[in-house]
Symmetry: none
Subunit: 244 residues, 2 copies
């Protein structure tokens, strides 16, 4: 997952409870005792999802919500005291956001978080891969630094040619779906350049060789294109599943 979540709640117990539950699901969490503290951190370094208690010292959760919404479309989940805020909630247009009424089940909140993030991924499309602030994206033991355009495999730097770099980056960014040859030609080589259909295969070929020792594998979708997947134990140097 590797998603970053900010949590603002003045109750230490609730904050830590949430953190532990979310971190158990491999989310990274940072807690804040006030919404204002969260807001400041957010403006410096955004996250993937925000959980806001309504009742907090300083500005309340709804204020923070509006402030964040001025610049960002990040998913926000509101925590409200049982009934007192219920009507308020009803009267608000929370848009794509969600809310939970206390007391709530941490398990349910976690699954809510998951579904919200999943929906967000659908909306933003290819950004199933969140790029970190330093411009890093990764898959298996491959890490790509988009700023320096360098790649490492298991910590060791390994060289990529420009086309290989572009292709691998594109595959990693779209890890959740199969990519057709025409799309690759379109995106990597550009539409106007009229090249053989097989050039994509060529680059895939070379890339496969270079990542042959890694935990990633470029699988073939027969009659369609390719997809980056984890190399499972049985894979080895074995052929792939080609389901179309």
């Amino acid at each position: 997952m590797d998603k970053l979540i900010y949590i603002a709640d003045d109750d230490d117990n609730i904050r830590n409870l949430l953190k532990s539950f979310l971190e158990r699901e491999n989310f990274r969490c940072i807690g804040f005792p006030t919404g204002d503290a969260l807001l400041e951190q957010y403006s410096n370094s955004p996250c993937d999802l925000v959980i806001l208690d309504v009742m907090m010292p300083g500005h309340d959760g709804f204020y923070i919500l509006r402030e964040i919404r001025k610049t960002s479309n990040v998913p926000i989940i509101m925590l409200t005291a049982k009934d007192s805020d219920a009507d308020y909630i009803q009267g608000l247009d929370l848009g794509s956001d969600d809310y939970f009424t206390k007391p709530f089940s941490p398990v349910k909140l976690v699954s809510k978080v998951k579904s919200v993030l999943k929906r967000q991924e659908e909306i933003t499309g290819k950004t199933s891969v969140k790029e970190t602030d330093d411009g890093l994206i990764s898959f298996a033991d491959i890490v790509i630094n988009r700023k320096t355009k360098e790649a490492t495999l298991g910590g060791e730097p390994f060289p990529l040619t420009p086309n290989e770099y572009a292709l691998l980056t594109y595959l990693i960014s779209n890890r959740d779906r199969a990519i057709s040859r025409t799309e690759l030609l379109d995106k990597i080589w550009g539409y106007e350049t009229q090249v053989e259909t097989r050039v994509a295969d060529d680059t895939v070929k070379r890339l496969r060789k270079k990542i042959s020792h890694s935990g990633a594998r470029i699988s073939t979708i027969w009659g369609y294109g390719f997809r980056l997947v984890m190399r499972s134990a049985e894979d080895g140097a074995e052929g792939d599943d080609s389901e179309d």
Copy 2:
């Protein structure tokens, strides 16, 4: 087609040129002299594809791009002056977007628009059948993942050839009605392809073999075509269940 396209370019000639080319292909087009005008219209009423010139009065195309991206994943094609923006482009991560350098061939742009829209449909899927958040469609114990183009039967992956995949997807998407052979030929094989009428039967035959253990069954509508139904003892209305 009936897709709506917004075009922002301060050059009337280019705008009208594009409009005429695109409208000739049955797209609906609305032109805007500035990106800001387009942005305002878009926020009121989104469209299916956006074409943005980079150099425009007011905010430039990249600004508009980012603004639209805050709320939408609509395909965007950028138009850039030949060399001046080239380096800029390189430095940017245009992500899922496309760009054309001026001067460009309207014909190529049109086919670009078509391929982008087609791909968009492929990815998001356009089935009327309920599709889960993951892009999954299912029938009985068959699940098809339209993103990865994988199919599973009772949880186990099972391989499908391109034609089989297309056919099964079509059958599942139209589970509620019988589908004629000619419709199958049109939708799966395409209008142009000149093949025997019986090729659909071939693929149906192979598909039947592969799903013979599943809870689904392709029933024959005698003298007409096929229909996907549940395999059960009582469904003799459509045809006899002598399978398995």
